[in-house]
Symmetry: C2
DNA sequence: CTGTGTGAAGTTTTTCACAGCT
DNA sequence: AGCTGTGAAAAACTTCACACAG
């Protein structure tokens, strides 16, 4: 298997959906005995995924170890922050040497929760939903797309790659049948919030939405948003003075 | 659709690595005379796009004005930060009342550079590229998709919606013909960097990449990245303790 | 009185810089 | 000598809280 990917760049920002309310305490009670695995800063988190990609490439290249400097350059960040990020997972580096590629890769995967199986249901079999269903980048990274769902009877039953579009009118049943534990929402804006509510009722607590609307989810449900128009708008802003 | 590519870790600082400075764009030496329009914080920027969306729907609802509280709730943020963000554009609110929807909408659009025409070329007519070409959310927001480009002769000439896939072997010609000033890269990982370089040569300075690789671009070129796998990985992390 | 605009306080994240392993 | 791990300083960003305009 020579699956390979290369370095990340510095995926910043991204749209950030807050958990909703101005909560005060996230649930206190830190576990001092446990490694401080939990509660990695959001910023660290997105860099970690980048390091992981770099490490995968390095591993494919047969590199045994790498210093924070090398990782930093490949990931497009500052070496100090690489060390700080990694030290949050525990200290797995060797002074004077760096980090053992395979080992670090393991640790990060574990910290990110990638060792467990993630079963993704894609809701919305329109252009985007179908494109996502065919995207190899998910499966390669441990995310198994187990269902492609739409409420349109015209689409139900149609075959897309290895998937057959399931009937979304009984969402709970499909989610349960395919044992999805994560959902990608690729539906029109108007449909997003109602679906979101329904998903929460089904027990889904991780949702990646492509719908260009702010969604409200109860605390405890994790929602991330990818907003294509927003990305272009931000580019437009930056491009103004350059063009 | 997995492409791979042995990454040239050792040769990655070709383009933009600074000579020793903190990789920033020191281009501007602070222009006090210039309006403080430029240089909106990145965080503010992504919220502004959110407000814009909220305003659009308020406008459609016939609302004449809205307070920071209303905007904040709809956008899922804190009212104070709405006021702070908006005050960075200048003070367009009325004390005791709020903001005039249509007016504010204008101001934000202008600040984001959305008043000019943006002509987007999508490179890569695979699943994702085609899906993006058919995505209405771009045009609605002032981004005109003027070309869908691929180098595969099998695809060239094929019609997708209102677009005909253009031949990417002479990228410069297509970009020039269609007068694109922004590019969306929806190509396999291996193709991304070379294309990126070529685009820069064509004078493109705003690129939105979906390729899961870090891309190097010279200073002055704006690159944003959307990484689907990263999003799922971050969700996975958060979901660990919940599931 | 209502709701903006904003200094000041608070919080989070990044960078610096260096002691201390290997 | 080289590079990690980390306090401490700096910067960025958010929230508070209140004077004051309408």
């Amino acid at each position: 298997m020579n699956e390979e990917r290369a370095l990340p760049i510095d995926s910043l920002d991204a749209t950030e959906m807050p958990d909703g309310l101005p909560r005060q305490e996230p649930v206190a009670a830190v576990r001092p005995s446990q490694v401080a695995d939990r509660q990695l800063p959001e910023a660290t988190l997105s860099r970690l995924t980048g390091y992981l990609r770099v490490l995968t490439s390095l591993q494919a290249d047969g590199q045994h170890s790498a210093s924070s400097g090398v990782l930093a350059e490949a990931a497009g960040v500052n070496p100090a922050i690489v060390r700080k990020d990694l030290s949050l997972l525990g200290s797995y580096g060797t002074r004077g040497v760096g980090y053992v590629v395979s080992e670090l890769s393991q640790h990060i995967s574990k910290a990110l929760g990638l060792t467990q199986e993630w079963r993704v249901a894609i809701i919305g079999a329109g252009n985007l939903g179908r494109a996502l269903a065919g995207y190899g980048g998910f499966r390669n990274r441990g995310f198994d797309v187990v269902a492609l769902i739409d409420a349109d009877p015209q689409l139900v039953g149609q075959r897309i790659g290895e998937l057959v579009i399931s009937d979304g009118t009984d969402l709970a049943a499909v989610i349960a049948r395919d044992q999805a534990n994560m959902v990608v929402l690729a539906v029109p804006a108007a449909a997003a919030q109602p679906l979101c509510d329904e998903l929460v009722k089904c027990g889904i607590s991780s949702i990646l939405s492509f719908a260009p609307v702010p969604l409200q989810v109860p605390a405890g449900v994790h929602l991330r948003k990818v907003d294509l128009a927003t990305e272009l708008q931000i580019l437009a802003y930056h491009a103004q003075d350059v063009d």
